[in-house]
Symmetry: C2
Subunit: 144 residues, 2 copies
């Protein structure tokens, strides 16, 4: 069965932006990547989506340092079905920054982004403002 989705040069199906935004909103965890001490690092977070930006809560550490330096970051969510050997991923590339305004923090608190890791309180918010949101899905050119 020939799929109708457009494909990139590696044969991956290209997801429409609307689907990317739906996946970003519904995923319970995502992964943020940035340079820490000059080398890439990937850390999982519980995130929310606020007017097209990705927000998450954190405490002192490399993620907050990256935000204070307004570093470029990548953020990824994905979903897979091992049995059918298929899956999708959504990639956000943008800039991280701390959320400083108490009014903004109060508003974000209503998004109900509760980190599962709650043994240390995570009261600082980081916002990732995207300059690019892309998504891919595995396409199989045969029937199951």
């Amino acid at each position: 069965m020939k799929q109708s989705v457009p494909e990139d040069h590696t044969g991956m199906g290209v997801l429409p932006l609307e689907t990317c935004l739906e996946h970003l909103s519904s995923a319970r965890i995502g992964r943020v990547a940035f340079l820490a001490d000059g080398y890439p690092i990937i850390l999982p977070v519980n995130h929310g989506v606020d007017h097209g930006t990705v927000v998450f809560r954190t405490t002192e550490g490399s993620k907050l340092d990256a935000a204070e330096l307004q570093l470029p970051v990548a953020f990824e969510v994905d979903g897979f079905d091992a049995e059918r050997r298929t899956g999708w991923s959504v990639l956000v590339r943008g800039i991280a920054a701390p959320v400083a305004s108490p009014a903004e923090i109060a508003r974000l608190s209503e998004l109900r982004v509760w980190p599962w890791a709650d043994s240390v309180s995570r009261t600082s918010w980081v916002r990732i403002t995207a300059h690019e949101i892309t998504g891919r899905q595995i396409v199989h050119h045969y029937n199951y």
Copy 2:
């Protein structure tokens, strides 16, 4: 119930190296992060583990470019249980490089690392040699 695992400064439980290596071997997909055009990117791959290194197959594109430049990369696997609000992640930080030797490629082929994305053949292998492997798990200081 007080957990017995050591914790980091954010209250996350620190996984022993042996557990990290088990998770790396059993995970069906992982995510590789590196700089592409100067900005971080995160891409999922189907990987294998070969003598403590992470290997995956790819085709022409940013992952192979990163390997040819022997860029520093991060590689992550994780697992989550949304209902219990818990999970773990393992992070590999190291250097990517293409696998050039036909004998090595023949040997790696026996690892049975078959990319689920198979509409374009992925005949190039990339190896990530770690300088650091770390793992974390969410610790809840209460009974369920």
